[in-house]
């Protein structure tokens, strides 16, 4: 970010606010482009993973090699579809809901360190910011459900809000566990701490448990299977986006895959070493070398967790609504608090993986 501001100052003679605005525009634009391309790739990947798990082939024709352009073709189709707003819907709210939903998740990406120095803003409360800004998504969902003026949409929005708000408790509590160990909310500090010590997943059993709890509850937060009850396409009519079609609908899709990305990214950064390679000390490397390697390593870890999310989706059947709630409140919340308190005690005495 600072480097970009300096670059604009040097190249174009921009100063102060103008250079800042230009640098922000470039950063946001590149992240937006990345998210779009990533979403297309993730949708294609999801279809391929699903197909191979079900002993099928998936898209094979479009674009030549294994149907790689299928998502591009779908996106073009969605762009050209008719833009339908139901007659009795509240047009303004209907229009703004996909934007609110997408912005909430998308804003979380600006604090993520992709590699050394590849970060838009290095917030001191980075983890907190991601969790807080991702909650805006629920507001967008409720707006969408209400503005559609359809009973299916309204019930879908209520279901989804109930689930996502419930699962924010275990998500946030599980995130507190590594924060307790590292002693910072800043995402960069997790990278440096794990580069100096070890990956946090190996710190103690309680951190591994917190990672599992975070992963499960982030699945529920992303409305992924087995917690995709709010928008169960096969049984209930798609929940809150029943009335949406075309490009607006694809924004909800984009949001789903971006929130998967953020969840996987947080798992990789907080527990699995971020952009650090295992067993390799990269702190002394030249930035020009460390930067691309860091991005590749972080993306590889992230895509591994995205793959696990897809793998889980095509393995487990969907949970019933009471099962979702009892899983959240009876199992994940208590154990998240157990992990938090146990980590406090564990680290106070300075025990390692096994207290010997």
């Amino acid at each position: 970010m600072e480097a970009l501001i300096g670059l604009f100052g040097e190249l174009f003679g921009l100063e102060g606010t103008l250079a800042l605005s230009a640098a922000y525009a470039v950063c946001i634009g590149s992240i937006l482009g990345f998210v779009t391309v990533y979403s297309m790739f993730a949708i294609w990947m999801e279809r391929k993973v699903a197909a191979h798990i079900q002993v099928r082939m998936g898209p094979m024709v479009t674009g030549g090699w294994h149907g790689w352009a299928q998502s591009v073709a779908d996106a073009v189709k969605l762009l050209f579809k008719e833009d339908i707003i139901p007659t009795r819907a509240n047009a303004f709210m209907f229009w703004i809901a996909p934007a609110v939903v997408f912005c909430g998740v998308f804003a979380g990406l600006i604090v993520v360190p992709f590699a050394v120095g590849v970060q838009v803003v290095d917030l001191h409360l980075g983890v907190f910011f991601i969790i807080a800004i991702a909650s805006i998504e629920v507001i967008g969902v409720i707006i969408a459900g209400w503005a559609s003026n359809s009973k299916y949409s309204l019930f879908g929005a209520v279901r989804e809000a109930a689930q996502v708000v419930s699962y924010e408790i275990p998500t946030a509590t599980a995130l507190l566990v590594p924060i307790l160990v590292v002693g910072s909310f800043r995402l960069n500090d997790f990278n440096t701490w794990q580069a100096e010590h070890h990956w946090l997943i190996f710190h103690s059993p309680w951190l591994a448990m917190a990672a599992l709890i975070f992963f499960i509850s982030s699945l529920a937060g992303c409305k992924r299977a087995p917690f995709d009850l709010p928008e169960a396409e096969s049984e209930l009519v798609s929940g809150f986006h029943t009335e949406y079609s075309g490009m607006r609908f694809s924004f909800f899709f984009l949001e789903e895959y971006t929130s998967m990305f953020v969840a996987a990214l947080l798992t990789a950064t907080l527990w699995f070493g971020g952009f650090n390679l295992p067993f390799v000390d990269s702190s002394a490397w030249h930035p020009a070398l460390a930067m691309p390697i860091g991005i590749v390593v972080l993306l590889a870890k992230t895509f591994f967790f995205i793959f696990v999310q897809m793998w889980l989706r095509w393995t487990l059947p969907r949970l019933r609504v009471d099962q979702v709630m009892s899983m959240g409140y009876k199992y994940l919340v208590p154990w998240a608090f157990v992990a938090l308190i146990a980590t406090a005690v564990w680290d106070y005495y300075g025990w390692g993986w096994l207290p010997l």
Binding site: I53, V55, R56, M57, V61, T315, L316
Partner: protein, 193 residues
């Protein structure tokens, strides 16, 4: 105690069953080859006795209409004018909107002239196009026309000057195509004449 045992039992069964299920799906993901094929580019082999579209050997057909009578849904329409043993065809069509592919039309045929092929792609955008015309020629073939003219001339007491000119070589190309097509289908179905 029962409740506590249930609680921890739930946790352990959730973890073990998820792990087991993920093992199964991973095995499918990695090991099992796809059981589907890329349909328009490759096809499953069709059994020889598959009941697909019909084909008619028109030169054998004697217009007995037994196939049409046997048809339970009345989808076969046959019309021909008889000039002695020579038939002047106007219609032999099967309405595939009605046809149920029961094969009841095949056994009654006394001259074994109607067959079913292995063609199964019947989808069309035009419902009217589903009435399939099985005739490869309509009306009279040139040699039939000549044969009729000769017969009429003989009846009138005249001598036909150039009978050698009406050889089978004068047959229409469509009839030759038909013969080749039927031969190919018979070869595919392993049938003997």
């Amino acid at each position: 105690m029962g409740a506590i045992r249930d609680y921890f039992g739930n946790i352990s069964s959730a973890l073990t069953s998820t792990a087991k299920g993920m093992g199964v799906t991973l095995r499918h993901y990695r090991k099992e080859p796809p059981i589907t094929i890329q349909y328009p580019f490759e096809r499953f082999p069709v059994p020889d006795r598959y009941r697909g579209l019909h084909i008619l050997e028109q030169e054998k057909c004697i217009d007995c209409k037994l196939c049409a009578k046997a048809c339970p849904v009345d989808c076969i329409e046959i019309e021909a004018e008889h000039h002695g043993r020579i038939l002047e065809w106007t219609q032999f069509s099967i309405d595939y909107k009605k046809c149920i592919f029961c094969e009841f039309c095949i056994p009654p045929c006394p001259v074994d002239c109607i067959h079913m092929t292995t063609e199964y792609e019947l989808a069309t955008e035009d419902p009217d196009g589903m009435v399939e015309d099985l005739l490869t020629w309509t009306g009279l073939r040139p040699q039939d026309q000549r044969a009729l003219e000769e017969a009429a001339a003989r009846k009138a007491g005249k001598v036909v000057p150039d009978a050698a000119a009406s050889k089978p070589s004068a047959e229409g190309t469509s009839a030759e195509d038909m013969a080749a097509k039927i031969a190919a289908i018979k070869a595919r179905m392993g049938k003997k004449d």
